[in-house]
Amino acid sequence: MLYFSPAKIISIVAVLLAAVIFALPNLFDKETVASWPDWMPKKQLQLGLDLRGGAHLLLTMDTKELRENMLDNLREDVRAKLREAKIGTVGTGLTSDGVRVRIARPDDMEAALKALGELSQPLTTSFLTGSDARNLEVAQQGSQGIILRLTEAGLRQRVTDAMGGAIETVRRRVDAVGTTEPTIARQGEERILVQVPGIDDTQQLKDLLGKTAKLSFHEVHPSQGRSAERLPSRNGYVAFPAADGSDERGTWYYLKKVPVVAGDDLVEANPGFDQRTQEAIISFRFNQSGARKFGRFTSQNVNRPFAIVLDNKVLSAPNILEPILGGSGQISGGFTADTANQLAIQLKSGALPAKLTIEEERTVGPSLGADSIESGRLAGIVGITATVALIIFVYGTFGLFAIVGLIANALLIVAIMSAIGSTLTLPGIAGLILTIGMAVDANVLIYERIREELRNGKTAVNAIDAGFGRAMVTILDSQLTTFAAAVIMFWLGSGPIRGFAVTLSIGIFTSIFTAVTVVRLLVALWVRSQRGKARHIEVPL
């Protein structure tokens, strides 16, 4: 137990040196570290939100809305396909997961099924798995009915695609707020985690993410364009309410459901002020395809109104004075400078596929974050000083060795945490301090054992040997059970609790390591230095 080959000693020292190098970046600020040579590790400990201050938002996407949109689009596609094939329809309707259509003439059934069959596509994943899964099922129902159903797999794929798009949009919007290194990640099937450190005003962020920002321009019904009551949907025209902020509150507009041009074709959106009225407006520009569509529409509809719709509410319905061929213009709708700014950001980042709701929010203001760091630091210093004093008081010189082991332990924990880029939270600091208190346990086990063996009459070297040997098994047993609890905590928890579990777990392994190597090495060196002195070695324990 007390023999350390030169190779072993060198490897222990090497590990400790590596720990110093990996922990070093934490002592300097970011710029200094960046200027170091490339082979040196540069990762610093990340401070968690509860120490740095910032917002943590867990957003859910409204899959119901997503589904409704999908069914709507499907119905439009069905109509378009049948019109193309010159097959008359009596009516179309929506089911809970699909579209129903009745064709006019039963003879057309075969042709209709063939045309609609083209709408069904194989899922992208089935190319890889070679399966037959498709996103749509087309079936005949009775002599004149056809029913199209979205498959489960198809639905799930659309949700995944939508989530991907939503995350990108969220990222662009968060970036526009201009903070450092936000975290945006998918959580499970329908959730997005957004962590924005250092943000002061979360309301702005929440407002930014709260709107889908779907912009579209629609044709207005020639005769019944504007009315006080909500007209039923017919012939492709649907009633849209006026937006809350507009002058026309309470009015209903009768607009063509399929837009002339939509936000997808927007290439620029900037806030500004109207030259004449000094109102806050948004000036926009379409891409080539959008400009063409818009140009064609405005050429055919001079002196008639068209509606600007945002999130299914009509912002305004100005008259087309002349054909707009350049694809640019401005939108007004009772904006303030702030809301115009916000909307511009939302439009530029793209529309969200569905509304996002905030399921969970944990925000910490910067002042509390700084206070927490201070408290943690103070408690740590006091706690560790007291522990160190106690250890030395109870275990004498060997207590000193244990303290060196503790320092090595702390160093290793910081090094590992920096290297794997884990985040330090307030419970994490508590975990660190707790680990120090518990790491002492390994040494206590060994030292108490040595004392006992000495009492039983063993010689110094034998007692020390027995102490290390016998205690090893017990140390492993007891630390492993704490590790099991830490693993479960990691799996269960989020954020701060995870931080605690991580520091605890790392601490368990490093404390075993330091007790077995560093402390043992020091004791072995001490024994070696005592050999050849008096015959009887007095153990300073």
Partner: protein, 318 residues
């Protein structure tokens, strides 16, 4: 090595003083039973003060920009908003106030709407230090995961101890663990401390720590069972506990010192967490000494580990 001062330490807990632990075990069992029953009664009657993590709703910690927070004024401002029960309590310093809003009907958006109402009502004279809003979906998930985590831990530990030792040791360990968790919950119920995710984390840590203790004692018991095949079980258990007493108390002491520092200096945010850990360590140490080991004398343990059948369990406890 010669530059290092050589000095001995002072033994804090005298060895081999043969404290009659087993003699107290009857009393300890009784006291523990009472405490456990009391905890269950408290839990079912007074209930636990669940935080937003488990109950849903919102929590805002605000700090007055003035010298002191005016709680009555805050109550007046927030009372008339139609948000149901709004709890306003002082939190640490005279400037800090904790505002709790219960879960609003209407799912996650309703919680955010309620939060906005409150922040608008409080106005500029208060700085927002911390906000936690948990919608119904997430809170129910956290409740489930919390319970599963504690149960899983207990099961994992039973399996581990059973694997390493005999089944009697596993029973002893589990009884001690359940005892620790129950009484800690009872204390939280009695004082209505806030019970949230970090409390569960503390409970899990206590589980790990308590079993840590129990394993060390069990290990010594097993060693002695092999060494002293003739000794009567109660006496052997007593000796084993005494032999490990030094270590058990020392480790508890070092951990407690650190926790006390955290409790006093670590700030309000982790105070509940630190308290749970402190209490848990004390209870865990007590249960390892007075519950887990003495239980073995009731259950009886194999004396000869060379494969011969179990000896009859000891008839008496001293």
């Amino acid at each position: 090595m010669n530059f290092i001062p050589q000095f001995k330490g002072r033994q804090l807990f005298l060895p081999k003083n043969e404290l009659p632990i087993m003699a107290f075990s009857r009393m300890a069992f009784f006291a523990s039973m009472v405490a456990m029953v009391a905890s269950i009664v408290l839990w079912s009657s007074m209930g636990l003060n669940f935080g937003v993590d488990f109950k849903g709703g919102s929590m805002i910690e605000v700090r007055a920009k003035a010298e002191r927070a005016n709680i009555a004024d805050l109550r007046a401002k927030t009372g008339g908003l139609g948000l149901g029960d709004v709890q306003i309590t002082s939190f640490g310093t005279p400037q800090d106030v904790l505002i709790r809003i219960e879960e609003q009907p209407g799912g996650a958006p309703a919680q955010q709407a309620a939060l906005k109402k409150i922040t608008d009502a409080i106005g500029d004279s208060y700085e927002q230090r911390r906000v936690e809003v948990v919608g119904p979906a997430v809170s129910s998930e956290l409740r489930t995961t919390g319970i599963i985590a504690v149960l899983c831990s207990i099961i994992a530990i039973i399996l581990y101890v059973w694997f390493r030792f005999e089944w009697q040791f596993a029973i002893g360990a589990v009884v001690a663990l359940v005892h620790d968790v129950l009484i800690t919950i009872g204390v939280f119920s009695l004082f209505q401390f806030e019970f949230d995710l970090s409390t569960v984390a503390a409970l899990l840590t206590i589980l790990g720590y308590s079993v840590n203790d129990t394993v060390v004692v069990s290990d010594r018991i097993r060693e002695n069972l092999r060494k002293y095949k003739r000794m009567e079980l109660p006496a052997l258990l007593n000796m084993s506990i005494n032999e490990t007493l030094s270590r058990t108390l020392m480790t508890s002491l070092t951990t407690l010192i650190v926790l006390v520092a955290l409790y006093v200096l670590g700030g309000e945010v982790i105070r509940n967490f630190t308290f749970a850990m402190m209490f848990g360590i004390i209870i865990g140490t007590y249960s390892s000494i007075f519950i887990a080991a003495p239980l073995l004398s009731f259950l009886g343990v194999k004396r000869d580990w060379s494969g011969i059948a179990k000896e009859a369990p000891a008839a008496t406890t001293t």
